[in-house]
């Protein structure tokens, strides 16, 4: 057991700290793809604080894959108001996929502008009748005259209003078994035949869209991997998504905000933190946060020390993290009582209404990215070796 990163990393941390200090007042302005954002993203890449391990030829920094350095960067950036590197599904999901399975041309064409924030991507996986059961998707692609002609409907497509490109799962081999008939296609969003409709959520925001695809034509080369291998390609990417939904270090920050809230909020002049029934709920949650943090250390360690096994630790992160987060935000609402129901621009609103927003949003995350029922299936089947749901007669 050694939780120190070692002296060579102390130097690195000093360097990051200095950069952060020097740039903490930087303001990045404008909408996505603004010059200011792109420039800042490029600065971060140039210093190796973003896209660190991605080869220079594809627009990255070209450094080693050093998990500890990545963590130090994340830690130091988190402590400061310095603008954070851009995220999004293009960077988190598409880039790793292309690096692993894309052609040289695809890497050259897409990775650099994606990293720089010049191309925003959206994800076209789910369909109205294929939520948890992705493999049953029905959007069709036919190869006609060296073009994919795509027809169908996608849902839960985030940032589709802003995106220039969509990475999309499409059924191209209608006669193959359902997991084997899917291809992974790259669709420019300005192609004729694409219609976007925002989906309003319970939070009041519209982070997601429906996408209607009618005779959408893209070049035959806009495929990642081979025909019918889309399921495999997508699953490589899905792995990248799951871990990022419920970082216990973020939850710890929220817990600390909750503690502050409980110290400032009063009932009949008494601080809520001095009410033991509320305090006991707080402490229960704190214990769970600490357990999940310890679990995260184990995962981190397994990334640094490849001989360490942490399969189960990884499988449970999404399930546990989203449920805990939802509960934590719910406790904050109870702490505020009637004040906790305030929303939008209401007078007396606490913390900009973020607690209610998160209470709902994390319920969305319990559902999204594989519902927590699906997560339990996965844990029992892949980590505990229990049988898959048996095939049903007549299905």
């Amino acid at each position: 057991m050694d939780l120190n990163y070692g002296p060579e990393y102390d130097d690195f941390r000093t360097e990051v700290k200095a950069f952060v200090k020097a740039n903490e007042d930087i303001k990045v302005t404008g909408p996505m793809r603004s010059e200011s954002r792109i420039n800042w993203q490029q600065t971060l890449i140039d210093h190796g604080y973003f896209a660190r391990s991605i080869p220079k030829e594809y627009g990255g920094y070209g450094g080693d894959m050093d998990i500890i350095k990545l963590r130090i960067i994340a830690e130091e950036f988190a402590k400061s108001p310095i603008p954070k590197p851009m995220g999004g599904q293009g960077i988190q999901m598409l880039v790793p996929t292309l690096l692993e399975l894309g052609t040289e041309e695809q890497k050259k064409e897409y990775i650099k502008p994606t990293l720089r924030g010049e191309i925003i991507w959206c994800q076209g996986y789910s369909e109205p009748n294929s939520g948890s059961d992705l493999a049953s998707l029905q959007t069709k692609g036919e190869l006609i005259n060296d073009e994919w002609v795509i027809n169908g409907q996608k849902i839960w497509t985030s940032t589709a209003q802003l995106a220039q490109m969509c990475f999309c799962l499409v059924r191209t081999e209608p006669d193959a078994p359902k997991h084997q008939g899917i291809s992974y296609l790259l669709i420019p969003m300005d192609t004729p035949g694409i219609d976007r409709r925002p989906i309003k959520q319970m939070t009041g925001d519209s982070d997601f869209n429906e996408l209607f695809l009618t005779d959408v034509k893209i070049p035959a080369t806009n495929i990642v991997g081979k025909r019918g291998e889309g399921w495999k390609v997508a699953n490589a990417t899905l792995g990248h998504e799951r871990g990022s939904l419920a970082d216990p270090n973020v939850t710890l920050n929220r817990l600390n905000s909750l503690i502050e809230l409980m110290k400032s909020e009063t009932i009949d002049g008494q601080r809520v933190i001095d009410k033991p029934a509320f305090r006991d709920r707080l402490l229960s949650i704190q214990g769970r946060v600490l357990a999940q943090q310890s679990n995260a250390l184990r995962i981190l360690s397994s990334q640094i020390n490849p001989e360490q096994e942490a399969t189960l630790s990884k499988f449970i992160v999404k399930l546990q993290g989203t449920e805990l987060r939802h509960e934590l935000e719910g406790l904050a609402i109870d702490v505020m009582g009637e004040m906790g129901t305030l929303y939008e621009q209401s007078p007396h609103l606490r913390d900009g209404g973020i607690w209610q927003m998160h209470y709902m949003y994390y319920l969305g995350l319990i559902i999204g990215g594989g519902t927590n029922q699906i997560q339990k299936n996965i844990i029992s089947e892949r980590a505990l070796g229990m049988p898959k749901e048996p095939k049903v007669q007549g299905a």
Binding site: S126, N129, S130, G131, S132, D133, S136, I155, W156, I199, K200, Q201, M202, G204, E265, T266, I267, D268, G269, K275, A277, F278, R281, H326, G330, I333, D334, M336, G337, E338, M339, G340, T341, L342, Y343, E344, Q345, S346, P347, H348, Q356, M360, L363, G364, I366, I367, G368, T371, N372, Q373, K376, E389, V392, A395
Partner: protein, 363 residues
């Protein structure tokens, strides 16, 4: 011995549900939430025509003089239909406060108007239960100063009944000088909440509330029961919709309702919710007939139903998958209604502590 609703109660419940089913579809609720006040007024009128404003007004003042069980049945039906309409404050707590603590003159002035749907009285009693931000009012020289948060049904009201910390109730016409209204926006936009800031606003005491807390307590009990019934109604919709969705939505080549995980989620919701119906009836019966048990039953009902409601609002949303998270299906209107009910007039921990005190557990 008969534990349950009478034919009259069932028929009132059915009438209100049917009215809302016909006149307050999700689309209409959505337009109200987005600001269509005419629609809300129309629904309000329709419900007044069905009697919701006259239920609790004694017959001698032109009301129906019905009991708390009737009021509870109505509250459940309004929650079931997410009625965008005043009720718990204006039509239950206010007439009750006037009936038990008002002077003859106050009763004569206000009760017939309430019954007729011509007067709306907002009720501000949160500070009596537990003051946030040290809010609260002081009464002297026939006028009130201070502020009340989360006045129920106070928007566009003709008068307010508000309580000070010791449970004394005051009646203040809304056209008095020295009244500032601050509109509050909560997650649940099917109902309204306001803050009132009083600066020497002319006020009358409800005389029956001066020497003891029992009037204020009864008003709080009734309010809590209405919120509980509203939550039970809303949770029932969420369960019903979950079962229906599970019997219609297919994944992995099967109805999702054939997966044991989904079946058990629905079974757990049903197992938790079913006794809540009986509990609100039972609590109403105690408020009407068993004074020595009424406060404890009101506390426990509010706390327990709030916990069950919270769990169901989460689970039902999960059963609906991504659709549960959208505005399109509108499930969130009930989710938010349950969320607001949970906090109004005391959240579960606070009410359980009150229930402990009622039983002398704090020595």
């Amino acid at each position: 011995m008969y534990f349950g609703l009478s034919e009259e109660q069932k028929s009132l419940e059915d009438n209100i549900k049917k009215y809302l089913d016909d006149n307050a579809s999700i689309e209409i609720i959505r337009s109200v939430v987005e600001g269509d006040l005419d629609k809300a007024n129309e629904i309000h009128r329709g419900l007044v025509d069905l009697g919701i404003s006259s239920l609790m007004v004694p017959e001698e003042y032109g009301g129906l003089g019905l009991d708390m069980l009737f009021a509870t049945v109505v509250a459940g039906a309004l929650g079931y239909g997410t009625a965008p309409c005043p009720y718990a404050g204006a039509y239950v707590m206010a007439p009750l406060a006037l009936s038990i603590a008002g002077s003859d003159k106050q009763k004569e002035e206000w009760l017939p108007k309430i019954a007729g749907g011509e007067a709306l009285i907002g009720v501000g009693i949160s500070e009596y239960i537990g003051a946030r931000e040290n809010a609260g009012i002081e009464f002297s020289n026939d006028s009130v100063s201070g502020r009340c948060l989360f006045v129920i049904d106070g928007i566009n009201a003709d008068a307010f009944i508000v309580s000070n910390k010791s449970g004394e109730l005051f009646l203040i016409p809304s056209d008095s000088s020295g009244i500032e209204i601050v509109e509050l926006t909560t997650v649940d936009k099917t109902r309204t909440s306001i803050e009132i800031i009083f600066k020497n606003a002319k006020a009358e005491v409800l005389p029956g509330s001066s020497d003891n807390k029992s009037a204020a307590d009864k008003v709080v009990d009734a309010g809590r029961l209405m919120l509980s019934a509203d939550t039970v109604g809303a949770a029932q919709v969420m369960l019903d919709k979950s079962v229906a969705y599970a019997l219609e939505r297919k994944q992995f080549g099967r109805l999702i309702g054939s997966f044991q995980a989904v079946k058990h989620m629905c079974a757990e919701m049903a197992a938790e919710l079913e006794p809540c119906h009986s509990m609100v009836w039972h609590a109403a019966h105690c408020l009407d007939n068993v004074p020595e048990e009424s406060r404890l039953m009101a506390c426990h009902t509010k706390a327990h139903v709030s916990e069950v409601g919270k769990q169901i609002s989460k689970t039902a949303t999960e059963v609906h998958g991504g659709m549960g998270f959208t505005d399109e299906l509108g499930l969130h209107y009930w989710f938010k209604r349950i969320g607001l009910n949970r906090q109004l007039l005391g959240s579960p921990e606070l009410i359980r502590e009150e229930a402990a005190k009622l039983q002398g557990f704090d020595q």
